[in-house]
Homo-oligomer: 90 residues x 2
């Protein structure tokens, strides 16, 4: 078994209210960053997981996203390529 | 000016307490995901920004990270390659 680090990006679905993004947008505008046109805020989750292959790690994490990590009604998620954590072959 | 979408990933510094990550780790374990060894949770922030080039957009967002988006004491941030939002050349 190898150890993989899997990145999960959970973002609010387009069109849904994102009050945290709005708050950051206003704060940036008041600091003078007026070229910013939109801000959306989600979660970045990093999981270290033991699995036989990157594909297996990704599949398991996608399953966990559907059950726990993301709200399927209001959020999208993207699980990006798992990569072996260095020196962690066991 | 073009419109770029810039991705900012803000993560807790290694070694610092991450209670949200711990909570997710425990919840995953209780759902049977016992191959997960560690979980860290940060923020994924997407900014649509008007700029002359991707490099200019990235630079402006890195500056905003230092001033507002990340806490330099407890968090690291990564600004990934800005890419032009489709059909938004003006």
């Amino acid at each position: 078994m190898n150890r993989f680090t899997v990145e999960v990006l959970v973002t609010p679905r387009p069109g849904l209210l994102d009050p945290q993004g709005k708050a950051i947008h206003h704060a940036l505008a008041s600091l003078g960053y007026d070229s910013v046109e939109d801000v959306r805020v989600g979660r970045a989750i990093y999981l270290d997981i033991e699995a036989g292959s990157a594909a297996e790690a990704t599949e398991r994490v996608e399953d966990a996203c559907r059950k726990l990590l993301a709200n399927p009604v209001t959020e999208d998620f993207r699980v990006t390529a798992a990569e072996p954590a260095c020196g962690a072959v066991r």
